[in-house]
Symmetry: C2
Subunit: 371 residues, 2 copies
């Protein structure tokens, strides 16, 4: 049944928390499908924040199915990567040796079979490794937004060989936002403006407010449902949306950085992490914000509008914050004729992981086995 | 400023009417952009329904910019391809030699530099050539739906090397419909249902009806605006939508053909092209349909619904026709949570041509120049 293998994609995964772990599960469950398509994904290494588990033989088929399944189970249970050493096939490297081993692996495979370095972590720490990997001819797939949002020079370096990088899941998770914008640019069409509601968390919060619920209650519910970061201020600050906006703006060719983006936070700076603990914010800070938010929701409603947390990217500037939009409008409503609107499941580890997997497969032609 | 050329894409274009001509213009205007990206598109041949103009030297850079511009102008003015012979660089082949020359070209280039055969025609006649090109290792890009909607065996042959074919523009013109579905399939997600409003023409007609206008008037206006085919029954029959539905269904793995699709025509068979001329249909047939359509629009409206011409693809079957949908719903509203919704400029020669160009560029990794 399986087709002859046409493309072999060796992968090293940085970050095996939520998205990374789901990615490994997807890779495992898609094995028969990919075999039918003549594609094989070899997982040669998996790193978390403290260590790297790497295949003994970099030119082997990588971790077998049983080890991958155990790896997913171990990370689910909060066990360290070292718990898998007894399985054989692999070695463990702790930081900073782990970092050096990733770069060595990139050197070895970049020159021979090629390598896809997949970043599903959530730190700025990987950017050095990623740039080194790019220098060594490796491909890069990112679910992690941070490497694309630090210094412009880092972004430029990462996308310098644009065909060897994919980062579809950094904006809109499983929705084809980056691919659509890239296609439009490739065909020479100018993009006049991008307007987006790019946060699933804030999308939920704003919809609930519309139904008359109190801001403090909505945020607490969102937290209890697992929709927010452990400290909800990470979402309410707008920084996550700002990062997505920056990626889109840079994709459009704007040579800007975070400090050029006008970001509206949903809490005042005196309620910020430097001034108040998460506990205090949840127990006493949040409720003090109810009144002003309620007034804004009401003011919008009186005009037949709803409040949405959106990003707006135009040639004149880039901003992220609350906007009044016509009720029942697709967000994206731009009053020009027929703007491209992409709506759907734009959040969630599982959806994001599926997007990362599609990105990896999208690179397969660079790993084409010539007969 | 121009980057070193990384990928050279030799192209032969079948069909240089609306979409094909716009494609040539896009290729021309995107030359500097593509040069910056290290990509070069070489136009080696252009065919219309009667002949083929082909470069003297298949390993040259192909038609120069001046010839391409003249070619666009000639096709705009309705001049035959032979009018360009005086320009040199090229030879003319009339049918059936033209067909043989396309296949010869595919043989020569398929084995050496590779070739992208681009079908922007609107006939079933190209399917043999396309299959021969696939056999010879060529890539295929289609704006023409018909080759994908004839016998299932033909479809199977054309997509047999799925990485070497692109047909994004056959469904939804510039919208990333095919790519989105392909990405979802590649990441192992099951697709339970696709619901789409896939005809710009019928989308226009149905919206106008909603405003209380008469069917016959709306269709005539659509024709005068150039939104319909010369015989509007080509749109009203639903066959164009059925072709798109068939492509999507086959993409999902359904081994079905046109006869398996339930297609609702907006006119009865006694008003069909076999029984009535286009003139008679427009002058006397159309008005006889007003009453029944008006009744359906009203019945929908009384329930707070609007009438839309949609395709529905499910594992249980595939149908194309009028449906009542909730007013203000994004079409695609499926009552499941967060379906993927793609809205936008899904029609027009220009948009379609831009989609074809993006498809061609998407193939560039197969034409990668190894150092």
């Amino acid at each position: 049944m399986a087709a002859p293998v046409r493309s072999v994609l060796p992968v090293v995964l940085l970050g095996c928390g939520g998205v990374g772990r789901h990615l490994l599960r997807h890779i495992l469950s898609c094995r028969p499908l990919h075999a039918n398509q003549g594609v094989a994904i070899r997982v040669l290494g998996v790193a978390d924040s403290s260590s790297l588990l790497v295949a003994d033989d970099l030119h082997s088929n990588g971790f077998d199915d049983a080890l991958l399944a155990d790896l997913c189970a171990a990370k689910s249970a909060g066990s360290p990567l070292s718990s898998l050493l007894s399985r054989g096939q692999c070695q463990l490297f702790n930081n900073p040796e782990a970092r050096r081993k990733v770069i060595d692996t990139a050197s070895v495979l970049g020159k021979t079979t090629g390598l896809v370095l997949v970043d599903c972590s959530a730190t700025y720490d990987t950017v050095g490794m990623l740039k080194d990997a790019v220098d060594r001819g490796c491909c890069v797939v990112l679910a992690n937004k941070k490497p694309l949002t630090c210094a412009y020079e880092d972004f430029e370096k990462l996308v310098s060989n644009f065909r060897r990088i994919r980062f579809e899941s950094t904006v809109g998770a499983g929705l084809p936002v980056i691919a659509s914008v890239t296609r439009i640019i490739a065909s020479g069409d100018p993009v006049s403006r991008i307007v987006g509601s790019l946060s699933g968390t804030l999308g939920y919060v704003m919809s609930e407010l519309e139904d008359g619920k109190r801001f403090s209650e909505v945020v607490k519910t969102a937290k209890s449902l697992g929709y927010t970061e452990p400290d909800p201020r990470d979402d309410l600050s707008g920084m996550d949306v700002a990062r997505k906006a920056l990626i889109l703006a840079r994709l459009l060719g704007q040579r800007i950085s975070m400090e050029n983006i006008n970001v509206e936070s949903l809490y005042p700076s005196e309620f910020g992490p430097d001034a108040m603990s998460t506990k205090d914010f949840l127990e006493s800070g949040l409720v003090q914000l109810d009144k002003s938010i309620e007034e804004r929701v009401k003011a919008a409603s009186l005009k037949g509008n709803v409040l949405r947390y959106v990003c707006k990217i135009e040639s004149t500037g880039c901003q992220v914050g609350l906007e009044e939009l016509p009720k029942n409008s697709a967000l994206g409503r731009c009053y020009e004729s027929a703007p491209l609107v992409i709506q759907g499941a734009g959040a969630g580890n599982d959806t994001t992981a599926a997007g990362v997997l599609a990105d990896i497969l999208d690179l397969q032609d660079l790993f084409h086995k010539t007969a």
